[in-house]
């Protein structure tokens, strides 16, 4: 094997040899450079392989003397990994920059080669002054590379960079020389054992060394110079700085911290957290994509610093966590910078142009999800482990800070992604794809997935993840060029087979939800046959959501659960954002989901604390801050069920989604949150739990959610939004039922779960299909459609009767159970609110069916056809379900009762034949249905007997007060039809919650805007920042 020192030989020799290459032969020079980097990579890679396979680390001595007398280098596992990574990214970056480097000439090529070489040595060296020299090499090379593509801005940025690094290098040198003075050595290992921190001056020297490395890492807020470089430099260089340099400097920090001793760890974490939260916060206002990426890079480095500071606490997991975060950041940030170079757009809004080439959306999406820490990327597993370990060791506040920062990062990254996916792109010039630029991007994308898989395999819990659904998603993704019909069939067959395989392994509770997810999924997918063409991207994301849902059900460990949860979030986000105007709603959905997911993550961490296992059982009986843990779990799950306060994403997201997506995300997806709440409540100990106020508060929340959801639905003019608000209300019932923590309450809740799935799927599918036909969501632009689409009308009528709870259809079961439960529990007011919400529900349901199907047929709808058969099939299948449930409620309720009795044995219903008997009353579902239908038929027969010949009237046979089709909302009777009620109840409809969230975001954005004013653009001010940073940290750490 070749000695690692020859990385230096190759790098320098190559650079010097380039001087012989004639000026014109730029290709030769560039190829020599690439070969040199590849060769360096081969050396480090071969060491990496040998060290992974148990080889021993290599010490390189120079000058024939042992350290500390001469400079030595070390090639251990860390070094081998990092230098391999640097060389790989260097090679890819070299390929990416091929043309830019060539046009800048041979000198630039030399500089690039030396830059990569210098990073290698920085990683390997064990001598502190040598480190200084090579850091100088790297920063001078950076100063040169910044002006690779020379613009006024890049020159300014380069100069500021030089000023800053000049000061930092001086501080570093001062620290080194005094460290030498106190220890008599320059060797890092020697300094470690010398323990110079004990002397007063020695600790100052150590501080100077540390702070200069911190500053080199561009810690917030003394980092204006670094940001300018990210913004102004060629994106290819930005990629190098963000991934390669930051990685190398991070490792330097690791070495130095090792040297300085554990008493500094805490402060490093402190600086890290300030940097992480601060730069992510400030990035909120950023409109320039490259500068935003710069902020994000700094944030990520801050996170890595936190991890480093906790290395003694995290123990063996430190390197795993750091690896996961680092490698995700490494590839993703490089990829994003490269994309920025390909897209050639600075403003984040202009990134909409990327949509012109859908593959690029996939690339960008991958990078952003990897940065935020979604599965299956390494950062997901790393963040998981980090949070678990931090909470387990009692560092909850740190977790909160970290998650807050991550949240901010998600905000701006997803906003950016939203612009890319949905923004206006007509007037933006399309970008060219150059092969040499896209190859590196492609390689890092693939690497992210591969590394993610292996990261998961590395841990025991991660290895247990079921990858089959994901493989299926990947397969569908590959097959995306096929027409809808084929993909739909594959998807349906796949899901059916999967369900067939999985269902024997599930207990009853999980079976219910799995059936809703998968059977419901199949039914809604059938509607997909109505679409023509390819429907690019639909199937992978839909299946991703289902993969996540099924992973939640199957989860044996909390990690698997969270894994599934995040997959489901990602998939549903993409599904929702496919709608035409769904971008802002997609964003708020994502942010609430991430916020909820972080609440879950924290809570799962608290559950893990002190348990030492990730089995799902740990949420039963949490011991560490149980009130908070259960509260957070519930909040996390409630973001998905859109409880009041966390609901503002739902109406838009569901309302603007595609016709067959709305039922998926409404009827099916919301149940994932319910499942979570169910698990939590079981975990709290079921009937005998000691958390009195938590279920109580939850109950009130459910009741108020039910009321306000329904009330908001009443005042909607948009049919799908109406249904969306209705979902909020219905989920409120479910939450209330579950919160009662009694057998009847749960039975009511579960009967709602099933019922809501059935009728909401029917309603959304039907209305969605109608919308597809008539081309508008606005109800006042519809009317009289019963004549054109009677089957759709019938479906909606059955749906709304079932929803409203009017006997004899299935909705009444839930109501009846609820009132019994309420009486038993004594939650009379909640019950009254619920009843009132039910009354409100009639209003919007009538409005829905009346405005869409009854009244006058609109002129432009005279020729619309009945909704597509592909929608009717699932709709009527579901209606069959409703009918069965209505006529034989005991078929559903008895097994449900048995299932719930496992958790709530007391207060069960007793069944006498068809009659359910509770403590308070009785209800014979079948007989009620038969009686009502019987009476109905008799009356109908009487009517038919007495009206033998009814004269069929045409539309205009009645007195007709005109409607104006051109401005239908002004004269349409159903427009603002509940004005009277509104006048009476308007205070209840003030969107307080939305206003509150708006205020929160405004506050954050304003803070960000004020905070970022410190980056005045004046290089001198940045120097002042640096010096101030040094002084402040000094007085914080040393204490004056």
């Amino acid at each position: 094997m070749i000695s690692p020192i020859h990385i230096l030989t190759i790098g320098l020799g190559g650079a010097f040899a380039l001087g012989f290459v004639p000026k014109k032969a730029k290709d030769v020079a560039a190829i020599i450079m690439l070969f040199a980097i590849a060769f360096m990579g081969a050396i480090s890679g071969s060491w990496l392989l040998s060290l992974i396979n148990g080889g021993s680390a290599e010490q390189i001595f120079t000058a024939g003397f042992r350290p500390p007398y001469s400079i030595n280098l070390l090639m251990g596992l860390n070094e081998a990994f990092l230098s391999t990574a640097i060389n790989v990214i260097g090679l890819l970056g070299g390929i990416y920059l091929y043309k830019s480097l060539k046009s800048a000439g041979n000198h630039a090529i030399m500089v690039f080669l030396i830059f990569i070489m210098g990073l290698n040595i920085i990683v390997m060296t064990r001598d502190i002054f040598n480190l200084f020299v090579f850091m100088e090499i790297v920063s001078i090379a950076t100063a040169g590379l910044v002006i690779l593509t020379e613009t006024g801005k890049s020159i300014q940025a380069g100069f500021k960079y030089m000023m800053a690094t000049g000061i930092i290098a001086g501080i570093f040198l001062l620290g080194i020389i005094f460290a030498y003075y106190y220890s008599g050595t320059l060797n890092i290992d020697g300094l470690t054992s010398a323990n110079i921190g004990l002397a007063k001056g020695g600790s100052v020297a150590l501080f100077l060394i540390l702070v200069s490395i911190i500053l080199e890492l561009k810690s917030f807020p003394a980092n204006g110079w670094g940001l300018d470089v990210y913004e102004a430099a060629n994106p290819g260089i930005g990629a190098m700085l963000s991934s390669a340099t930051a990685t190398a400097m991070y490792f330097v920090m690791y070495k130095i911290l090792e040297m300085a001793g554990p008493q500094w760890n805490y402060y490093i974490s402190l600086v890290g957290v300030v940097s992480f939260v601060g730069s992510n916060l400030v990035a909120l206002k950023q409109k320039n994509s490259q500068r935003m990426l710069g902020y994000s890079s700094i944030g990520q480095v801050g996170l890595l610093m936190i991890i480093l500071g906790f290395k003694d606490i995290l123990g063996d997991n430190t390197s795993y966590i750091a690896f996961g975060i680092l490698i995700s950041h490494y590839f993703a940030k490089a990829g994003l910078f490269w994309l920025a170079g390909i897209v050639k757009q600075k403003g984040i809004k202009e990134w909409a142009v990327i949509r012109k080439k859908p593959l690029f959306l996939f690339l960008m999406g991958t990078f952003i999800f990897a940065l935020i820490g979604f599965p299956p990327f390494p950062s997901f597993f790393a963040k998981w482990t980090l949070v678990m370990d931090l909470i387990n060791t009692g560092n909850l506040p740190w977790v909160v800070a970290i998650l807050f920062g991550s949240m901010m990062e998600a905000v701006y990254l997803f906003r950016w992604f939203g612009y890319a996916i949905k923004g206006e792109n007509e007037n933006i010039e399309d970008f060219k794809i150059e092969l040499h630029k896209i190859i590196p991007v492609g390689i890092v994308v693939v690497s992210l997935y591969v590394v993610g898989y292996f990261t998961a395999q590395h841990t025991e819990v991660g290895a247990a993840i079921n990858w089959i659904p994901l493989l299926f998603v990947a397969a569908i993704f590959v097959l995306d060029f096929l027409p809808v019909f084929v993909k739909n069939t594959i998807a349906i067959i796949g899901m059916a087979l999967y369900f067939y395989n999985i269902y024997p392994d599930l207990d009853n509770l999980r079976l219910i939800f799995e059936a809703i997810f998968l059977v419901g999924g199949i039914l809604t997918l059938i509607a997909g046959y109505a679409y023509k063409g390819k429907r690019t991207g639909f199937y992978p994301v839909a299946l991703l959501m289902y993969a996540g849902l099924t992973a939640i059900i199957e989860a044996q460990t909390t990690l698997q659960f969270f894994f599934g949860w995040e997959l489901m979030t990602a998939g549903s986000y993409f599904l929702i954002i496919r709608g035409k105007r769904s971008m802002p709603h997609g964003l708020s959905y994502m942010l609430f989901s991430i916020g909820g997911a972080y609440a879950l993550l924290t809570a799962l961490g608290m559950a893990y604390a002190g348990q030492g296992t990730f089995s799902m059982d740990i949420i039963n009986g949490i011991t560490y801050l149980p009130y908070w843990a259960y509260g957070l779990l519930i909040v996390g799950f409630l973001t998905k069920t859109a409880a009041l306060g966390l609901h503002i994403w739902l109406p838009g997201a569901h309302g603007e989604a595609e016709s067959d997506v709305s039922p998926m995300v409404s009827a099916i997806l919301l149940k994932a949150g319910v499942f979570g709440v169910v698990l939590t409540l079981i975990g709290m100990g079921g009937p005998n739990n000691e958390y009195t106020w938590l279920p109580y508060a939850l109950g009130w929340l459910g009741a108020i959610t039910a009321l306000s959801g329904n009330l908001m639905a009443v005042f909607q003019e948009d049919a799908k939004r109406l249904l969306a608000y209705s979902s909020i209300g219905q989920l409120g019932y479910i939450v209330l039922g579950l919160a009662m923590m009694s057998h009847l309450g749960w039975l009511g809740g579960f009967s709602y779960v099933i019922n809501h799935f059935l009728y909401k799927a029917v309603l959304f599918l039907t209305i969605g299909a109608v919308v597809l036909r008539v081309g508008t969501h606005n109800m006042y632009e519809m009317g009289g459609l019963i004549k054109r689409m009677p089957l759709a009308f019938l479906a909606v009528m059955i749906g709304i009767i079932a929803l409203s709870g009017v006997p004899p259809l299935s909705g009444f079961a839930g109501k009846w159970l609820f009132y019994n439960a309420i009486l038993e529990k004594g939650w009379y007011f909640q019950g009254a609110i619920m009843f009132f919400s039910g009354g409100i529900a009639f209003l919007y349901l009538w409005r829905l069916i009346h405005t869409v199907f009854l009244g006058q047929l609109k002129d432009n709808h005279r020729n619309v056809k009945e909704i597509s058969i592909w929608f009717l099939i699932p709709i009527y299948t579901l209606i069959t379900g409703i009918m069965v449930y209505s006529f034989k409620p005991q078929w559903v309720l008895q097994p449900l009762g048995d299932m719930i009795a496992q958790y709530f044995p007391d207060g069960q219903l007793s069944w006498v034949g068809d009659t359910a008997i509770s403590k308070y009353g009785h209800w014979a579902g079948t007989w009620v249905a038969v009686t009502v239908i019987g009476a109905f038929l008799i009356v109908l027969a009487l009517l038919m007997l007495s009206t033998r010949k009814a004269h069929k009237l045409k539309q205009f046979d009645i007195t007709y007060s005109g409607e104006r089709p051109e401005r239908p909302e002004t004269t349409h009777v159903a427009y603002n039809v509940f004005e009277g009620l509104y006048k009476a109840m308007w205070p209840a409809t003030i969107p307080l919650v939305e206003a509150w969230w708006n205020r929160v975001t405004d506050f954050l954005h304003d803070t960000a805007d004020i905070a970022r004013r410190i980056y005045s653009g004046n290089g001198q001010i940045y120097i002042v920042h640096i010096v101030l940073f040094i002084i402040v940290t000094y007085f914080v750490i040393i204490g004056g």
Binding site: P790, P807, W816, Y828
Partner: protein, 305 residues
């Protein structure tokens, strides 16, 4: 007792209720006219109306829903009757308890909407804007009325620890002082007030305004439809009164008692209607959210501690 006997008694009960509804309706029209200084209709006018309506030879339809609307309406009325115990005889499966063993108070509460819903849909298909307006107002007011009413019902259910109407009636036997009116006055007063809205007389009859003006469901539906709706209306009026009687006024142990009590209950709402002018819909909603709602809360509060 066989199923057929039960069915026969139920049918008989329905006929009594229907005729009593007609008679009561005519009586109050008469009283109203006299108060206003007019002569008024003869007491048999409703029967004449029914006959005349059913025997019209031509009839129109706007579509299936239009046709089925009155069926819903009448089924709603009949259903309510079927699920309501009428005369208390001490035997839960007694002759005049109808099919109340198939469900309890909650069923009745929700079933009230059945007729309203069908009516709304049927009128809706007529395509006339006024019917939509009337229904919208009706639903809004209904929602507002139901809130205090539900609180009162819940209070009674808590009081007797049951949702079974039969048991509630049973518990009130043995003297006037056992009536909910005296044992649970808050609930009773709430019901007495909210009842005004449920009965739909002035001042809470804006719902009917559109058809008063020019046209609306009652004009739109003619002939047999109107006949059905008038029958349904009579049945519903009586059944509402029976519901309140059962819940608040101790039920009835005989048909006579039932007739007297329902007459008085009905009289109360007509009496108020004659005194007060009509409310706008926002006025009536806010009215129900004031005193009745407050009383309803009180009715619950006294039982929730």
């Amino acid at each position: 007792m066989t199923v057929y006997v039960k069915f026969g008694y139920t049918l008989l009960g329905l006929l009594i209720v229907l005729n009593w509804g007609f008679l009561m309706g005519a009586t109050f029209r008469k009283i109203g006219a006299r108060v206003a200084g007019r002569y008024g209709i003869p007491f048999y006018q409703p029967w004449l109306n029914l006959l005349k309506n059913i025997s019209t030879r031509t009839t129109i339809t706007h579509g299936v829903m239009y046709y089925i609307g009155p069926v819903f309406r009448l089924t709603g009325g009949v259903g309510l009757f079927l699920f309501m115990p009428m005369v208390f005889t001490g035997d839960p499966a007694g002759l005049w308890t109808n099919y109340s063993f198939e469900g309890d108070l909650i069923l009745i509460l929700y079933f009230q909407v059945f007729g309203m819903l069908g009516m709304a849909l049927g009128a809706g298909q007529g395509g006339h804007p006024y019917s939509a307006m009337g229904i919208a107002r009706g639903l809004a007011q209904h929602a507002a009325v139901e809130l205090p009413l539900t609180l009162a019902f819940l209070s009674i259910a808590i009081q007797y620890d049951t949702f079974s109407v039969y048991k509630i009636v049973e518990a009130q036997q043995g003297g006037m002082m056992n009536w909910v009116l005296f044992t649970n006055p808050f609930a009773a007063v709430t019901i007495i007030l909210a009842m005004l809205g449920a009965m739909g007389h002035s001042p809470f009859n804006l719902v009917k305004a559109p058809n008063e003006i020019l046209i609306g469901p009652a004009t739109e539906f003619e002939g047999t439809y109107l006949g059905f709706m008038q029958s349904a209306g009579s049945i519903l009026h009586v059944m509402e009164a029976v519901l309140f009687m059962n819940l608040v006024f101790g039920g009835a142990t005989s048909w006579i008692e039932l007739i007297v009590k329902t007459f008085l209950i009905y009289f109360w709402s007509v009496f108020v209607g004659m005194v007060f002018p009509r409310f706008k819909i926002e006025q009536s909603v806010t009215w129900f959210f004031k005193v009745p709602l407050l009383l309803g809360f009180l009715a619950i509060i006294i039982y929730s501690f």
